[in-house]
């Protein structure tokens, strides 16, 4: 487009090369990607996810004592492989949670949110673009770090003569599940951050749900001997989500009657509810509140 100087009535603006620009959702996605990659906190968090995952995998594979390598059944080998590769998830989830909270509360604490909502006055486009970029980035980085962890564990196991059958579905699916889990935890943290609008409050809330709530519930369960409290624990995001990256034996273990045990898909559904509910609440509040 070129600026033309023809037949303009006096008092009207000169033509601008920017005439005709529009806010578009792909544009907002690109904007959020630029924002995410241009902060040091993002790079630190993602680097930490890789480091934790690979580090714990090497540690567990390295210290695991295997007697009589030849006698280990194939399925136990796979189980060991999954355990070693995913053991870091319970730690890297904390990093994913912190990143998820900071992505949104960082804008509120600095006032950036006013710039964001001035450029995208519909607000929800910015909210969902942020979420999508965050979830994709966390998923990809987690998938890569879990794959690296698995490779490192395989190398260590095979150096001791234990073949772990890395490329079987029984091993690969939990790895994929782990990446999904971390992405969903970052989404849950993001919505929490959008609701509370403070970094400290958001991080405390999410870590409370991920770390403190399971301890409180299982303490209560063991003190009161109440089975229903114990069953409730299964529906916490960390417990339900753990099914996503747990090893699935070919033959299900017997579950005592009256005890709830979720399978992978039920776990995914429960975790999805934990993601969707705060996400909707956050969207309504973001749209409504003054900034």
């Amino acid at each position: 487009m070129t600026a033309t100087s023809d037949a303009r009535t006096p008092g009207t603006l000169p033509g601008s090369p920017l005439d005709g620009i529009r806010v578009t959702f792909p544009g907002v996605l690109r904007s959020e990607w630029i924002k995410l990659r241009s902060l040091r906190s993002t790079l630190w968090c993602l680097g930490l996810v890789v480091f934790i995952s690979v580090g714990f995998s090497a540690l567990v594979a390295g210290v695991y004592h295997v007697e009589n390598v030849a006698a280990v059944p194939v399925e136990s080998g796979r189980q060991l492989q999954v355990l070693a590769a995913t053991v870091g998830v319970s730690f890297s989830q904390l990093v994913a949670a912190v990143l998820g909270v900071l992505v949104i509360t960082g804008e509120y604490s600095t006032g950036m949110i006013r710039s964001t909502f001035s450029a995208v006055p519909g607000r929800l486009a910015a909210y969902f673009a942020k979420l999508i970029v965050l979830a994709l980035v966390v998923f990809l980085v987690s998938a890569v770090s879990l794959a690296l962890s698995a490779l490192v564990a395989t190398a260590i196991f095979s150096s001791r003569g234990l073949h772990t059958d890395l490329f079987s579905g029984q091993v690969l699916l939990p790895l994929l599940g782990g990446a999904c889990y971390l992405a969903m935890i970052s989404m849950l943290a993001f919505s929490t951050g959008a609701i509370v609008r403070s970094s400290a409050g958001g991080i405390a809330t999410v870590l409370g749900v991920l770390l403190v709530l399971p301890v409180v519930l299982s303490l209560t369960a063991s003190l009161t001997q109440a089975k229903w409290v114990d069953n409730m624990t299964q529906f916490l995001p960390s417990q339900a989500g753990a099914k996503l990256y747990a090893f699935q034996p070919t033959h299900e273990a017997q579950v005592p009657s009256g005890t709830v045990s979720l399978d992978v898909w039920q776990g995914l559904l429960v975790l999805a509810a934990w993601v969707v509910v705060p996400l909707v609440v956050g969207a309504v509040l973001v749209k409504r509140r003054d900034v």
């Binding site: 603006l13 000169p14 620009i21 529009r22 806010v23 959020e32 902060l39 909502f117």
Partner: protein, 303 residues
């Protein structure tokens, strides 16, 4: 063009903006003047759709801001606080905003050059001085080559050279036919920049007129007189609409009469005058006069 109709904002029991209506026209610089806490920033945030009004509405180019399809091309805003993530570089901040509208990277370089930020563009905003932050805010406002500019206290923290730059730039943008709306709590600043003034006090519009009219309307013109026969002069001048104030040092201040009329009346009564000075209230006094009852926090000065 900004149209404000019956706009109000209530925080709890306090009315920050109280049924405000005015129009900001293109082609001129409109100043938005008022003491701190008068509701200027709240009004501007409501125009930008950041705060929702308790009543009334604000339209930009005939539409509520949230409905604009190209908000950055329609309105460029610099809002009160630094609305920038401190961990990001100035360049990335502008690049991210530009991306939402598909504004090319070359325009980002352009506004950086226009605001003199080249040397700090790759530095993180957290380390910026107040003046640099202000320049970055202006750069962001200019990014979309907007038809309307809304600048909240734009010269805050700028050095004298920067202040002059903002002033001339605003006048230039208005001369191109853009709508320029600038807030300030300093009358002197406004008198050098604005063509039209909207004065706000305690959330209400106190004046909405061309700047000269606001000043003359609010100015109390007085004549200072000294005479050994103060009592006789007071008697000679007394009439409808004339007030005479006497001071401890013997001076009288006459309002409601021109200096010539005071002199003629004294001559007719045969009273000698030692001083006869017309005193124009300064702009600042005119403004204080206008907002005297509407300042939220009075500072008590003991004489």
């Amino acid at each position: 063009m900004i149209e404000i109709e019956g706009l109000s904002k209530r925080y709890g029991t306090k009315l920050a903006v109280d049924d405000v209506s005015f129009t900001v026209r293109p082609g001129i610089v409109t100043g938005f003047l008022g003491p701190n806490g008068a509701g200027k920033s709240t009004t501007m945030r409501m125009i930008m759709g950041l705060d929702s009004p308790s009543a009334g509405r604000a339209l930009v180019a005939g539409q509520p801001y949230a409905r604009l399809r190209s908000p950055l091309h329609e309105v460029g805003a610099l809002l009160e606080a630094k609305a920038v993530h401190t961990g990001r570089t100035a360049f990335n901040h502008l690049l991210a905003l530009a991306a939402t509208h598909g504004i090319p990277r070359s325009r980002v370089h352009e506004v950086i050059a226009m605001t003199g930020l080249e040397s700090v563009a790759s530095k993180r905003v957290g380390g910026f001085s107040l003046g640099m932050g202000q320049r970055l805010g202006i750069a962001a406002a200019l990014l979309g080559d907007p038809h309307t500019l809304i600048l909240d206290e734009p010269v805050n923290g700028l050095d004298p050279e920067g202040v002059r730059w903002v002033r001339e730039f605003c006048r230039y943008l208005a001369s191109q036919g853009r709508t320029v709306f600038i807030s300030s709590h300093l009358m002197s600043e406004m008198s050098q920049t604005a063509d039209h003034l909207i004065v706000l006090g305690r959330g209400r519009v106190l004046a909405d007129a061309p700047i000269a009219q606001v000043i003359s309307g609010a100015t109390r013109r007085v004549v200072r007189v000294r005479t050994p026969r103060a009592r006789a002069l007071t008697a000679a001048l007394t009439g409808p609409g004339v007030t005479i104030t006497s001071f401890d040092d013997g001076a009288l201040e006459v309002s409601g009469l021109e200096a010539a009329q005071v002199g003629d009346a004294a001559a007719a009564a045969g009273i000698a005058l030692h001083e006869l000075t017309p005193v124009d209230a300064s702009l600042e006094e005119a403004y204080l006069e206008l907002t005297r009852d509407d300042v939220e926090y009075h500072s008590e000065v003991t004489r």
